[in-house]
Symmetry: C2
DNA sequence: CGGCCCCTGTTGTATATACAAGTTGGTATA
DNA sequence: TATACCAACTTGTATATACAACAGGGGCCG
């Protein structure tokens, strides 16, 4: 395998490219057994640990499946679809070159009802925090954020100024995410929600329900409503 | 670092857990410089390559940022939200223990109009394939799939029996994904779409627009409509 | 014919060693 | 005061070696 210094990628990356190239070209359909580490070592004239790193990374990226003792196989395409990580609405708006502003309807302490207690690992009647906020982009409402927060995870939540920092940003600091769960669906807003978001009758909303944990402790459960016409959730990724 | 054989994780994983534990506990806020590989080697009594693997993997997972020569730093929480990969509706329905069936409205060759030409890297007037299919779960419509396919990427598309295999499954075989792009939003369906999906007036749809590439070549552009009340897109992931 | 054992080949993990490439800070000189 | 150089420390990559753990196939024995 070539290793001349003309801005070439490292050897483990060349091995990865070689293998992905074989798969994409159709040489190795799914379930095909890929040559063993020792075979690739001989074929490509690189060390077994270099081959091993390439195969391990391709496995982590979803291209291959490995079974200790049995071999390495081309993986079937993964049938899953997930929201990957958690978005900060203020940075998202700034990234579009627009101005973010917030209208705080309330940020207050409440007693947990059955549903919130269940979501946040609390007992009914326990105190928790509740905030309702409209996020605007260049003055236009784009998100209604209805959020419950576990006081154990972020005791100082009520003290924050959420016109200066989003709840999301604050919670990232106070309780770094170790786990998250998302559900996205389409709903019709209530009359109040429609009014807060400046929507016309009959227009739908994109609803994101998002829950996060920090070190096993539930942190927050949020319901984010976006006018369907003015908001889209998306991304682009490489295999 | 303990290495007794009582079902312990490998050393590199223990190093990862130690570092994530320090971050989540608040010991190392974002931007903090993490001890160097050599320092961690001495502190944890494992080899530098074991530490190196742990740090590299935590970097790939978004916890850390590394600069060659400068050091390793705790990463700020990533403000991004993406659909991770591509879902196969048939497997998704099967995973719920339900029966998948399809109603094929058409699968045919057409001439590319301006929008489809742009999406698939074709010239206006070039031939392309177009399919319209309703997917049902236990007889109930859950997805209307409106899909354009680039003949260069999947020349045999028209020959497939899409009651036996989904377009998605076939395309995974014919043109493995190297890149994908998704956009999710909420829309009101047209009268025809509402009828095909068995929805009542005033109910919204979750719309996914999905485009994939194979080795740089555009493969397909699909618009998937789901009744908001009967479909949700979601996932759970660990930090 | 079936089951068990052994051998071979495979992947998984760990370490040591070496060198490359980059950053940073301090010192010396102009 | 600015610039250049050097040393030390950092991360990045590569290889060799060793051993653990697993899978699979073949042969032998009951």
């Amino acid at each position: 395998m070539s290793t001349s210094p003309a801005a070439e990628p490292p050897l483990y990356q060349q091995v990865k490219d070689y293998i992905v190239g074989r798969i994409v070209a159709g040489d190795w359909p799914e379930e095909t057994k890929v040559p063993s580490e020792n075979e690739l070592t001989r074929e490509l004239k690189v060390s077994r640990m270099t081959v091993h790193r390439a195969l391990r990374e391709l496995t982590a990226e979803g291209w291959l499946e490995r079974v200790q003792g049995a071999g390495t196989f081309v993986a079937p395409p993964k049938p899953q679809s997930e929201i990957l990580a958690v978005r900060n609405i203020a940075e998202e708006i700034a990234a579009r070159g627009h101005a973010h502003s917030t209208e705080i309807l309330y940020v207050r302490r409440e007693r947990a009802r059955a549903l919130e207690a269940q979501l946040l690992g609390l007992e009914r009647g326990d105190p928790l925090f509740h905030s309702l906020i409209v996020h605007r982009e260049n003055g236009v409402p784009v998100q209604l954020e209805d959020r419950y927060v576990n006081p154990q995870a972020a005791p100082d939540y009520l003290e924050q100024d959420f016109t200066a920092i989003t709840p999301h940003s604050y919670l990232m600091q106070a309780a770094p995410i170790s786990e998250a769960e998302h559900v996205v669906t389409a709903v019709m807003p209530s009359a109040e929600e429609r009014k807060l978001l400046g929507m016309k009758a009959g227009e739908p909303c994109l609803e994101l329900r998002r829950q996060t944990w920090s070190g096993g402790l539930p942190v927050t459960s949020a319901r984010l409503l976006h006018p369907g016409e003015r908001y889209r959730l998306g991304g682009r990724f490489a295999g």
